[in-house]
């Protein structure tokens, strides 16, 4: 590395003792810095958490920090939000949580499967145009979602034609299966980044491994399933977290293709609706907000051990 030699030209050698002191000091500064930042960063979420347990009367008349002066907590808000609705909202939030899961889990799994297979092919099988395909898929990331939504909607309903010749059939999903449209849209919009990141990871697997398997007569699908998949688990897990969060948190795609109804609306869109209806009832809104966070939290902590490790491994070569 040329950078290392450059550094050696500038002598900053200090006597050992002073250096030790300086290092201890700077690690303490770092600790303090990170503690302050973490507290700052957590305050807003913490405020929501506290508010969601306060009785409505208190919330309407004082800020959430007053809870620590006059502590009064209740489960009532969660009960209302989950099972009852209240304040002009009919029905609890549970069906919408289910919708979110029904949308998010398949969308995440489908996009991961397709992307992993494509990444394997592009990274390990030399064929004409493999580089251009990789670049083409990567470049699509810059297309803003909004640009494709409307053509996409018409495409789902009418199919694609050149002149009068149909080249893709109309899917007619909108009426009865809006969730299928949401799956397809999320999968396609996730593919560019997923293929890019997984490609980087798969490309740095040892060549000998693949070649040995080839010599033993394994076909490509078998190599992919038994050798590549287990090795890329960390990368898959980290991308799964990201994809899960994207889909779970999405509002635009869900609204465009699912609209507002109890059969296909995810919890984000429901919350957005509730902002209007609950109005000043912040204790209910915040309880709803916390309910919506819990599932992503579980997913994150379940997959966390893979997270930092898998995300970009292969992108950096030291």
């Amino acid at each position: 590395m040329t950078a290392t030699t450059e550094v050696s030209d500038t002598p900053v050698i200090k006597p050992g003792g002073a250096k030790e002191v300086r290092r201890a000091f700077s690690s303490r500064t770092a600790s303090i810095l990170i503690i302050v930042l973490t507290i700052l960063w957590t305050i807003p979420t913490f405020g929501v958490f506290v508010t969601s347990f306060r009785p409505g009367h208190d919330v309407a008349n004082s800020g959430w920090w007053e809870f620590f002066v006059h502590p009064k907590a209740t489960w009532e808000n969660y009960h209302t939000v989950l099972f009852v609705g209240g304040s002009g909202v009919t029905g609890g939030i549970i069906p919408y949580l289910v919708n979110s899961l029904v949308i998010t889990i398949p969308a995440t799994l489908i996009s991961l499967t397709i992307a992993a297979m494509a990444a394997y092919c592009i990274a390990w099988i030399r064929f004409r145009g493999s580089d251009s395909i990789f670049f083409f898929i990567f470049a699509l990331q810059v297309v803003p979602l909004q640009m494709s939504l409307i053509p996409l909607q018409r495409f789902y309903n009418l199919g694609a034609h050149i002149g009068t010749v149909p080249i893709f059939p109309a899917l007619h999903l909108g009426q009865h299966h809006p969730i299928v449209q949401i799956w397809i849209s999320h999968t396609m919009f996730a593919l560019p980044l997923a293929v890019f990141l997984l490609h980087n990871f798969i490309a740095q697997l040892p060549r000998d491994l693949m070649e040995a398997a080839r010599v033993d007569g394994a076909n490509h699908f078998r190599i992919f399933r038994t050798i590549v998949l287990p090795l890329i688990t960390p990368a898959l897990a980290s991308f799964a977290i990201f994809e899960f969060l994207w889909v779970w948190n999405d509002l635009l795609v869900a609204l465009t293709f699912g609209g507002y109804n109890v059969k296909s609306t995810p919890v984000t869109a429901r919350l957005q609706q509730m902002i209007g209806q609950y109005g000043a009832n912040w204790q209910l809104l915040t309880a709803g907000a916390f309910v919506a966070i819990i599932i992503p939290l579980i997913v994150f902590f379940a997959l966390q051990r893979f997270f930092v490790r898998g995300l970009l491994a292969g992108s950096v070569k030291g």
Binding site: T4, L37, P44, L271, V316
Partner: protein
């Protein structure tokens, strides 16, 4: 390669390729074409009329929210690039020192990334609310006579919302950089240390250059996220009164009742061009640098 292998491989590459072709590429091209036409979305393809650059002219000269929206979008991008990204990098560098309890800080800092932008809008209301918001109470502006309406005042609300956006974006960048830093060969740092480099120099001269591939990913993600800004302003006030953004205007013209698809598409193209500027600039700089070295 056997026939079976060939079939399997073609499926493995073909399905995603056709997928992105049909579901992203064609719609995007269609949007560019539609931006030169006039169409209210009713009636088949025959109802579409060519209209030249009229939509663009009209947007620039006869559509009041257009220029504010462009300004806000560009500002959003700049704030993400010069504030949120370095902040995320700082988090990552500090956390990378393996402090005691680092995992806990990391998880807490990452929390905002797990929240939907809709939720973030709700969460920050509790900070910004004029009477019972934390901010006004802390700075002593919660009395009736001196209230600051952070989200209502059209001169302040964009900045207030940008704070919310950075609150989520910085930890996002943090995780990506952290992943990159963990992958840096430790012998590089040791070598720098032996050569007598301080931590500052080690980072900028030795570690940072190896992170270059990650910078590409971060740049792309930053651009994508700043274009996705839709949800946050939509939740806050529907994207009016100081919070105009191109994405909101597009949605309003295409999905809303007005249905001016050609016009909305033209706005979409403008958004695409804005997002391409930083990416193309970066790639050109990279190419030049590679040629030099």
């Amino acid at each position: 390669m056997s026939v079976r292998d060939k079939v399997v491989l073609s499926l493995m590459v073909g399905i995603p390729l056709l997928g992105v072709l049909f579901f992203i590429w064609f719609p995007a091209v269609a949007t560019v074409i539609l931006s030169f036409t006039k169409w209210n979305g009713i009636g088949g393809i025959k109802a579409i009329k060519a209209d030249g650059v009229q939509n663009y002219v009209q947007a620039a000269t006869n559509y009041p929210p257009f220029w504010p929206a462009v300004r806000h979008n560009v500002l959003w991008l700049i704030v993400f690039l010069v504030i949120a990204t370095p902040l995320g990098m700082l988090f990552a560098v500090v956390l990378d020192r393996n402090l005691r309890g680092g995992r806990i800080y990391q998880s807490l800092l990452f929390l905002p990334v797990m929240l939907s932008l809709a939720l973030i809008g709700i969460i920050w209301e509790l900070i910004y609310s004029p009477n019972f918001g934390l901010l006004n109470n802390v700075i002593g502006r919660s009395g009736q006579h001196n209230l600051i309406d952070w989200l209502g005042n059209p001169h302040l609300n964009l900045w207030a919302v940008l704070v919310e956006a950075c609150w989520r974006q910085a930890p996002y960048v943090m995780v990506l950089y952290l992943a990159g830093l963990k992958a840096v060969d430790p012998t590089l740092r040791e070598a720098a240390l032996v050569d007598g480099a301080g931590p500052w120099q080690t980072f900028w001269r030795v570690v940072f250059p190896t992170l270059r591939p990650i910078n590409v990913v971060i740049l792309v993600i930053t651009v994508i996220e700043s274009l996705r800004a839709f949800d946050l302003v939509y939740i806050t006030n529907g994207g009016n009164n100081g919070l105009e953004l191109l994405s909101v205007l597009i949605t309003r013209n295409i999905v809303g009742q007005v249905s001016r698809i050609g016009f909305g598409s033209a706005l979409g193209v403008v958004l695409l061009v804005i997002s391409l500027v930083p990416i193309v600039t970066f790639l050109v700089m990279q190419l030049r640098q590679e040629k030099r070295s």
